[in-house]
């Protein structure tokens, strides 16, 4: 059964698989469809209710890899897991990586993903030198910043709506080894966070903060700030990549992750570090992908599923407002992450990141959650912010259309044989703007 990572909304779609580039066009025979990767998007950008999805993850071959220059070309269904295993032993790593390695190259492009180094390296698409896009009329377009540039801009972050991405060429980043030199610093509030992130931008490639989202009042916005750099380590070492150490085999009861267990977890997490700061080394796998150690952890949320609320706002007052609303309305987020984006130019028409602060919260599905989040959406719109489609399952058409004003420019590039649950939701309702 095909579902998204949040397991919400529940949809019904048939699924076919593509194994070969020259056969990908067959998926358009029974229209309409949607190319999907490993379903690591939380909401409905990878869903197509009452229709079809075409799964690309079995089309996962390498095409070329220049071990001298780090230029890599692979079929779009290859996973980052696979890619790291080949590239890292040769001294190359992903220029931008999300918090899980189980996403496909095509998925990374179509959501124009970002990582802990956004302030330095921008989004994924910035490092994509070229890709091939198959349209339902049978044409294949090679796109780069210079060639078919407008197609490039529509397809990166384009949520799979412009065609099927067949292969992607990517410039990797040179690294010395598998280790990250890491510092973890405690901060008591958002003002301290701001000081830390500004002080770290220059000297640290990776910065991110974990927030104790269960605390309020004086403790609001406290957390742990993490900053790191690739260690300069000449010892060559084959990457040790775990598929998963533990696997959650079945759905947990709905109440496992409740207000109290989440609160306790957050307090313990904050207290794990009694000292003001900690310095050490971490393997890249546990630094970038801590959650991958638990297979199918999304099942912990039980039958109802969960949502992720990822927002970007220009200043920290907005972030404080959201944190306050969450506690005052008894929405507890198991894992909350805060990061400052850099002033990098937007790569795609619909790319999410923009200058400001991005907060990510996990919330079990509930009626209360919908009510609060809808109200927060209004706040976000008023304050010039927006939500990340890759994580979204519920924002209104008006919310999307207002915060992504370039969405109408997509019309020219949409493939008539492609659609998604997300796109129907955010475009078919009449906008009141």
């Amino acid at each position: 059964m095909w579902e998204s990572w949040g397991r919400y909304p529940k949809t019904q779609q048939s699924l076919d698989r593509v194994f070969w580039q020259h056969e990908a066009g067959n998926s358009f025979k029974q229209q309409p469809t949607l190319a999907v990767g490993l379903g690591r998007s939380y909401g409905d950008v990878c869903l197509h209710d009452q229709a079809r999805v075409t799964c690309m993850s079995s089309m996962n071959r390498m095409i070329a890899f220049d071990r001298e220059s780090g230029l890599l070309r692979c079929e779009a269904g290859i996973s980052l897991y696979d890619l790291i295993q080949i590239a890292l032993p040769c001294g190359w790593f992903l220029p931008v990586t999300p918090g899980t390695k189980f996403v496909t190259l095509g998925g990374a492009v179509a959501n124009d993903i970002h990582g802990k180094n956004h302030h330095r390296s921008g989004t994924f698409a910035k490092h994509v030198t070229r890709f091939a896009l198959l349209r339902s009329d049978g044409t294949v377009r090679e796109c780069s910043a210079n060639e078919n540039a407008e197609w490039f801009e529509a397809t990166v972050g384009g949520l799979g709506l412009t065609g099927i991405i067949l292969w992607v060429e990517l410039q990797l980043k040179s690294v010395e080894g598998v280790w990250i030199n890491l510092e973890r610093l405690r901060f008591r509030n958002l003002t301290e966070f701001l000081r830390l992130t500004r002080a770290s931008d220059q000297d640290f490639e990776y910065t991110v903060a974990w927030i104790d989202a269960a605390s309020k009042g004086r403790k609001l916005g406290r957390g742990l700030f993490m900053r790191g750099n690739h260690a300069v380590d000449k010892r060559p070492q084959a990457p040790f990549l775990s598929k998963a150490k533990i696997n959650i085999p079945v759905l947990a009861p709905n109440l496992l992750l409740n207000r109290w267990s989440i609160k306790t977890f957050n307090q313990l997490y904050y207290r794990q570090q009694l000292r003001q700061s900690w310095q050490g080394r971490q393997n890249f796998d546990s630094f970038f992908y801590p959650l991958d150690a638990i297979g199918n952890w999304n099942r912990l949320y039980g039958e109802r599923g969960f949502m992720q609320y990822q927002v970007v706002l220009p200043d920290l007052d907005g972030i404080a407002h959201i944190l306050e609303r969450f506690v005052s309305d008894h929405l507890y987020s198991f894992l909350s992450v805060l990061k400052e984006f850099g002033p990098q130019p937007q790569q795609g028409l619909l790319s999410f990141p923009k200058s400001g602060f991005t907060l990510t919260m996990d919330i079990p599905v509930s009626t209360n959650a919908f009510k609060v989040l809808n109200e927060l959406d209004d706040y976000v719109l008023q304050h010039n912010g927006r939500l990340y489609p890759a994580k979204d399952a519920r924002m209104s058409a008006q919310c999307f259309q207002t915060s992504y004003p370039r969405w109408t420019e997509m019309n020219k590039f949409l493939d008539p044989a492609i659609n998604s649950s997300f796109w129907k939701r955010v475009t078919q309702e009449e906008s009141s703007v």
Binding site: F19, S58, M62, A64, I86
Partner: protein, 244 residues
Amino acid sequence: MNVVIFGATSAIAQAAAQVWAKRGDKLLLIARSQEKLVAVTHDLATRTQSNVTYKVFDLAATDQHDQLFAEINQHFSVVDRALIAHGSLPDQRACENDINQSEQQWTTNFNSPALLTLRLLKLLRSQEKGRLGVITSVAGERGRQSNNIYGSAKGGLSILLAGIQHQLHGKDVSVTDIRPGFVATPMTAHLKQGFLFVEPETIAKSLVNAIDAGRSVVYLPWFWRWIMLIIRCVPRFLFHRTQL
């Protein structure tokens, strides 16, 4: 080591080829689609920087196998490992209605691999060493209403392999009967993928190990051995009431 793979564009064969290429073996890939062979060759060569060559050949053309073997001999002075992987899963009802289709299926699933096996056997015996693996199927172990054109070809192949194993007793030449259960590949993409399905990568290592070790029969994954034991033991009067 020198490895020849017949039906090398099969998903299971590709996964096995990765295991061989990773350990530095030289590969000769044989299959009928040029486009697919190019993609697979690039993939293996890019991942492992090993020496990979391909040859386009329709393996159902059994009358041209001698030419094919002449080319293999030119390419490799010694063949250390060989894998026969090609096959096709037919539509049972269509085969019943159109007898010609049944014949084609038997050619692909029995004649072709059986004749290749005999030729490889000659070659390996002349070298006095070498190991061959042939992919049959758990579907060959008991005749069923739903799949007996395919099943009979695979079952016949298994009996041939068992006989050859008898002959090879005590020699440094071996033939392994590889019996996969459900593997998620293009062949099974149209079926509903239940919990028994595994990815080709999951079984590739065991496949290669079994050939290396010269094992007679290997079930992939291992638990199929026990499932098939049960299926073989079900009395006929009960079995015939099932939809299997």
